[in-house]
Amino acid sequence: MRFASFAPVTLGLMALLTGAPSWAGATGETFTVGITLSQTPGTGSAPAAPQFPPQSPRPGACYSRALSEETGALVEVACASGLFVSIEALPRAAFLGAHGGAFRYSMSTAADLSVWDAVTSDAFGWRTAWGTVTMLRLYDLTWPDGPGDLWWDRPLELRVNF
């Protein structure tokens, strides 16, 4: 009596069906991935307590998890989705400090804000939106040979998170 093994046939059919080449063999080697995580310089001190604690977060709202007015501080904003927004120092730009708190903010009419229902325009052509700024940072963008011939012309970049 003869016995036929179906294993090779089965493996061959599987290889054909999957389109994969038939391999003579395989071998595995394990390796590890080591990580050293360091904190950003300047964040070693304890940040001020968050002004908007996330005990009862509104859906879609983001809250500052770290708020500091220290120069060079880094502010992290946590969202309910688990994502976060971080504002980092601009390369080569003089950092003028971070300021946290609740502020009203306004935006220029240069942008199309027609979809903003809560936006109003004041006499100066500025649209004021109601909201809460949880963090802002100022950067001095004046380069040694850059624009700004008068001290009040020094261009600043204001980064806000709301």
Binding site: G25, G28, E29, V33, L37
Partner: protein, 158 residues
């Protein structure tokens, strides 16, 4: 005269050795069965040095390994998360979030595979960690020494 001829024939027969009635030849083969094989060296562990929320991506150091395969034998590489039994062929890339420092990274390979030359051929596992990740660390510096998902598997298919 006849005696001289007969004696000469006997002498010639003696000088030529044994008399053969005939000859024939047979051929045979030498059959060789070569089982192709590959060996892979240990993979040098990869290492990331990452600063929380850094702007750019970080590349891992290490990851080198070498393969020696039978001449002309094609082979491919695959990666597999974890240290469990290898399930060929593995993936070209894997993404992992380290469960100790909460940083995500991806691993790839310097080549998809190659062809054996009989000699050692060098390759590497590559690692990249995206920027702007905060990570989790309660001190000024942390390592993932306590991570339970830091070990992965390189699979060599041939």
């Amino acid at each position: 005269m006849k005696r001289i001829i007969a004696a000469t024939a006997v002498a010639a027969a003696l000088a030529a050795g044994n008399a053969q009635a005939g000859s024939t030849s047979g051929q045979f083969n030498v059959n060789v069965t070569l089982t192709s094989a590959c060996t892979v060296s240990a993979v040098t562990d990869l290492a990331f040095a990452y600063t929380s929320l850094q702007a750019g991506a970080a590349s891992a150091t290490g990851g080198g390994f070498s393969v020696a395969c039978t001449n002309s034998l094609p082979y491919t590489f695959g990666l597999q998360s974890g240290a469990g039994a290898a399930t060929p062929p593995g993936a070209a890339t894997i993404s992992v979030t380290d469960n100790a420092v909460n940083l995500g990274y991806s691993l790839g390979l310097s080549a998809a595979g190659g062809t054996g030359s009989g000699a050692s051929q060098a390759y590497s596992v590559t690692g990249s960690m995206a920027g702007s990740q905060a990570g989790t660390c309660a001190a000024a510096s942390c390592t993932n020494a306590g991570a339970t998902n830091k070990t992965h598997t390189l699979i060599l298919n041939y």
